[in-house]
């Protein structure tokens, strides 16, 4: 392929490194859905374990053996209800959950044959018809007359809103973005959720009724926590992490130093991906899912050299082994034990490379530089070293919320330090930053809010 060969004529950052057809092929479904025959055979592999380890490993506690048993008996509607009752975003989670470190890692089949039941794809098999046929699986309880504000239309916010609506409350969701969905819409690698799945799932979630989504409402600039507390019976904050951590190194302002999450969002927004500018040599700083997603997608868009550089070892990476393997098989190089030291720029102020210092674990157990430096050429540097809470623009009550490690502090029921205010998802200190975790936070917060509004139900 001539496109792959380095050439002086090739501009370093340009769109259309691959043809539209090649890009479309690269961004097709990572794991195609199971046919009925495949699903029945895979479902038959489930041992229907007692107190199943997979269910324990699922952050939302889906009764996995039960939903698989229902697939086996062709009770797909019942199977979907079993899944979605615990995890309203069971469709998205079937696509993006790191099952290899959750349910599938716990599968007892690993003990003898090292091949767990493919729970993720079975979950997708059971839930796909729900969104294709817009099946109504849940009903709302009689109206409670209570009104709850939800800030953020991502997995935590929508999960909370749906459960509240089911319980009979009216919900207003304040969404910062033009399209609700949060990271489901803007934060997930495009090849993991094809065919506008996030929006189809969202439409289905909202179809229960009682959820009013208001677009273009940011906390602080368009609405404040003080107002919400006055106007609503309860408030749930599922605002995510709006800020991006900087590298805090010399030369970071050079053109071509970008936020991984912004580019991923841009990718999701862009209909024709061939129009996106793509670097020839790309360096990604970080070790989590965002780093993997941006690295793999850059490669799929035609970048020639993509390096992920992480300051610790493979075992410490936030991305699972499976995700690391996925990146490697797509041609991404992963380098460990190096911390970024300095961004190098050309005479036009554009990124030309990046200098690293080798790292090691010091005598005190903390990570430390060895003083040994090396550098690589780069036209684009992606920051993927985590996101941070961004609530600075709301100067009222929001500033009094207790924090822990830079995130909101919550109790077991996801109550914040302010009465009548709950929070969940990435913006709280609790749990891993996964879609499935956020869904669970929203669900548990909704149950707590309901108890607060109505007392214990029978």
């Amino acid at each position: 392929m001539t496109d792959d060969a380095p050439s002086e004529k090739t501009s370093d950052v340009r769109p259309g490194r691959l043809s539209a057809a090649e890009i479309e092929k690269n961004f097709s479904d990572l794991h195609p859905p199971l046919s009925r025959a495949e699903a029945l055979i895979e479902a038959d592999r489930c041992y229907f374990c007692f107190d199943a380890p997979c269910t324990t490993a699922c952050p939302t506690g889906i009764d996995i053996p039960a939903f698989i048993q229902k697939i086996r008996s062709d009770n797909i509607r019942g199977s979907a209800r079993t899944i979605l009752r615990e995890n309203i975003m069971g469709g998205m989670c079937a696509r993006v959950c790191p099952t290899e470190v959750l349910c599938e890692e716990a599968c007892v089949r690993n003990t003898l044959e090292d091949k767990p039941v493919n729970i993720g794809l079975l979950q997708r098999y059971a839930t796909d018809p729900v969104f294709e046929q817009n099946l109504a699986l849940f009903e709302r309880a009689p109206p409670s007359g209570r009104k709850v504000a939800v800030v953020g239309a991502g997995p935590a916010g929508l999960s909370c809103a749906h459960r509240l609506a089911m319980l009979g409350h009216d919900v207003v969701v304040f969404s910062r973005d033009e399209k609700p969905g949060g990271l489901n819409e803007y934060g997930i690698a495009a090849y993991k959720t094809v065919d506008d799945f996030a929006q189809r799932e969202l439409a289905w979630i909202l179809s229960i009724g009682g959820i009013d989504v208001r677009h273009g409402h940011s906390l602080g600039s368009d609405v404040t926590l003080d107002q919400l507390r006055k106007q609503y019976d309860a408030v749930f904050l599922g605002a995510g992490l709006g800020g991006v951590n900087e590298l805090d190194i010399e030369g970071e302002s050079a053109a071509g130093v970008l936020n991984g999450v912004d580019y991923i969002a841009e990718l999701r927004r862009t209909r024709n991906k061939a129009t996106l500018p793509v670097g020839r040599r790309i360096v990604v700083i970080g070790g989590g899912m965002t780093a993997i997603d941006i690295a793999v997608q850059s490669k799929l868009l035609g970048a020639e050299f993509v390096d992920i550089v992480y300051r610790r070892g493979a075992a410490e990476m936030g991305a699972s082994r499976y995700e690391q393997e996925l990146a490697r098989t797509r041609g991404v190089t992963i380098r460990h034990w190096a911390a970024p030291k300095r961004i190098l720029a050309d005479s036009h102020g554009r990124v030309s490379g990046i200098e690293f210092e080798r790292t090691t674990i010091g005598a005190d157990g903390a990570i430390a530089g060895t003083g040994e430096c090396w550098s690589i050429d780069a036209n684009i540097v992606f920051r993927a070293v985590g996101q941070k809470l961004d609530m600075d623009s709301d100067g009222g009550d929001a500033q009094t919320l207790q924090r822990q490690g830079g995130k909101l502090s919550v109790d077991k029921e996801f109550r914040t330090s302010l009465p009548g205010v709950w929070a969940g998802g990435d913006c709280v200190a609790e749990g891993a930053d996964l879609t499935v975790t956020a869904v669970q936070h929203g669900k548990l917060a909704a149950i707590s809010i309901d108890r607060f509004l109505c007392g214990a139900r029978k």
């Binding site: 029945l40 479902a43 007692f50 107190d51 003990t111 003898l112």
Partner: protein, 433 residues
Amino acid sequence: MADLNTTFLGISSPNPFWLASAPPTDKAYNVNRAFEAGWGGVVWKTLGEDPPIVNVSGPRYGAIHSNERRVIGLNNIELITDRPLKVNLDEIRRVKRDWPDRALVVSVMLPMTEQTWAKFVPMIEDTGADAFELNFGCPHGMSERGMGSAVGQVPEYIRMATEWCKKYARIPVIIKLTPNVTSILPPAQAALAGGADAVSLINTLNSIMRVNYDTLTMYPATDGKGSHGGYCGPAVKPIALHMVAEIARRAETKGLPISGIGGITDWRDAVDFLALGASNVQVCTAAMVYGFRIIDDLTDGLSNFLEQKGMSSVTELVGKAVPSVTDWQHLNLGYVEKAVIDQDLCIKCGRCHVVCEDTSHQAITHTVNGERRFEVIDAECVGCNLCVSVCPVDGCLTMQPLTSGVDARTGRAVSAEHADWTTHPNNPMRKQS
């Protein structure tokens, strides 16, 4: 390699595997293919009076599948041959001439009048066939016309027809029995009393496969309606084994040669039938599901097995397990087994725990010292074998006999003495020991 040559009622065949009277033995074309594949013999599809019967032109078969679509059970409503008698007789004569070393038995089904037997028996025997097999087993269609299982369910009719056939036949007569009876002994005794040389069993079981979930009508159906069919395949094997063993062990029928039929799919199934008293076996469903080439595993597997057991012929295996079949009242109530879990093989699925907890004796833990761990509680274990039956890992859960010491459940010392129900104090009818 062990010698698989078998002689049944004086009829020799290169191996004990015959194709049962059924669609696979409908005509010369199929039978020639079967013999080319290596089958030891065939029982030709049942002949009847002319004009031939008529089959439906819709579904004749229905199946129960595993999720991988393996056929576990098959049901059929096909009747006896639908070809003119002369066509069949000509083909039988030719096939027997072409394959003199193979067994060729002819299945017949005739109305219950002596004249028909007097007319047809010599005519069929004239083909050179090795034996008759009287079809008193088919439970569908023909039974509505007073034949098949309608005869097989009335011992007096079995005896009567057997006597007629024996009267006009010089070659051996095998009576094929229906399992659609409460006890297989009266039909087998009737066959014996009528002069039968052997019995073959089982024929198929009355069955309806399921309903069509869209239309809520019987499935499979012919123009919206179905009638019960005959059930066969792996699912019926245990029923067949019981009936074979009963005939083999009961004084009334002991010694009556048996051709075993019912769900034989691989060589181990054949070992079951032979060890429980059958002298040879007949196969149908497995051939209908996989084709004739399964004969290779059947013969090869049986031959290897005999060799490993140090047996030089099939005859040595026949009836080996019969003495181990007895009545419940003779089981040793002093004998104790306990389930044992091999913790190195255990994958911790917990199936043994939940079935014991929910449906049996609460004798398996789920947590030990705060860890997920499944252990047998000897003080509760009655040795029922349910956990062994449900464990998905072969060899992980086994039953081990308690040969000495005290049974932790009953507190009683294990004794080498045999003590069964006949002498048990709780038995009001007990004999003095």
